[in-house]
């Protein structure tokens, strides 16, 4: 099988809530913003060696929890068509920052391919966001299904 270069993505946010609440929020499908919230079909077992499965617009995602250490760390694998069926790893760490929580999400071992970077569709999508966000002053939301279907113009 062809070996792809892999990349790592790191995203960080300060969440205005205590550590335990943020940790629990990340695993609660009712809280907006965590990956389970928008799922159409969801199976979630947030414990070591527990599995998850969720679908959105027909795209399936699978994974296995490697670490669940309340309130500091969650690590699980992540497999989707965008990882080309390969196992990538998502590590979320939570650190106390005064009254808030510093949350760091690292998604590693992601295939760095043209498809994954979505050059062409990303380009079109990016311009659309620019146009809508700054042209009319309204902020456009990221829409998974739009970014995952090719744009024909």
């Amino acid at each position: 099988m062809k070996n792809f270069k892999t990349i790592e993505i790191e995203v960080e946010r300060t969440i205005p809530a205590p550590l335990g609440e943020v940790f629990d929020g990340w695993l609660d499908p009712k809280i907006p913003g965590n990956p389970w919230n928008a799922a159409e079909k969801l199976i979630l077992q947030p414990k070591v060696d527990g599995l998850f499965y969720w679908t959105l617009k027909g795209t399936s995602h699978y994974g296995r929890f490697i670490e669940v250490e309340r309130p500091n760390r969650i690590q699980h694998t992540w497999v989707s068509p965008n990882t080309l069926g390969k196992e990538s790893t998502v590590t979320v760490t939570f650190r106390k920052q005064g009254e808030d929580t510093l949350m760091t999400l690292v998604h590693s071992a992601l295939p760095d391919t043209e498809v994954a970077r979505g050059h062409e569709k990303g380009w079109t999508y990016f311009l659309e966001i620019f146009r809508e966000q700054f042209g009319t002053g309204s902020r456009r939301e990221y829409r998974w299904e739009e970014a995952h279907t090719s744009v024909k113009k």
Partner: protein
């Protein structure tokens, strides 16, 4: 290997030498200067607003400057940075000079965005917003 690099350097001169400084873990990045210029250009909200404005069509300098409360020479400086990144071009039509958007350099920026980079940023924005709104509601209730 080094002979080949030396030959390329000799034939392509200064530009090649410049590119060699940008060897990254993801490979050698050519045209990184252009990417840096584009990223600098879009890093300021006023310049992003100008791009948004020009996305609707070409405009004259005073039309571009009108929505902003900054001085005209500040707008001129913003336009110079956009021009350096090749994001805009000026075209003379009769006695008027029209500024228009050149979207092409944004392609390079888009190429740097991974699908998951967009996805996780959006998710965490939403997650943060949820807790911020919750805190605001609690604060209002406490008053």
């Amino acid at each position: 290997m080094f002979d080949a690099l030396a030959r390329m350097e000799h034939t392509q001169g200064h530009h090649f030498k410049k590119c060699l400084r940008y060897i990254t873990p993801y490979g050698v990045m050519s045209h990184v200067d252009q990417l840096t210029n584009v990223l600098t250009a879009i890093s300021h909200p006023t310049r992003r607003a100008i791009i948004g404005q020009l996305a609707n069509g070409p405009a004259r300098f005073l039309d571009v400057a009108r929505p902003f409360e900054t001085a005209l020479n500040a707008v001129t400086k913003h336009l110079k940075l956009l021009e350096r990144a090749s994001l805009i071009e000026r075209r003379k039509q009769g006695r008027e000079v029209y500024i228009s958007l050149r979207g092409e350099p944004l392609r390079e920026v888009a190429g740097w965005l991974h699908e998951y980079e967009r996805f996780w940023n959006k998710q965490l924005d939403e997650f943060e917003r949820y807790f911020r709104n919750k805190k605001d509601r609690q604060r209002r209730r406490g008053k």
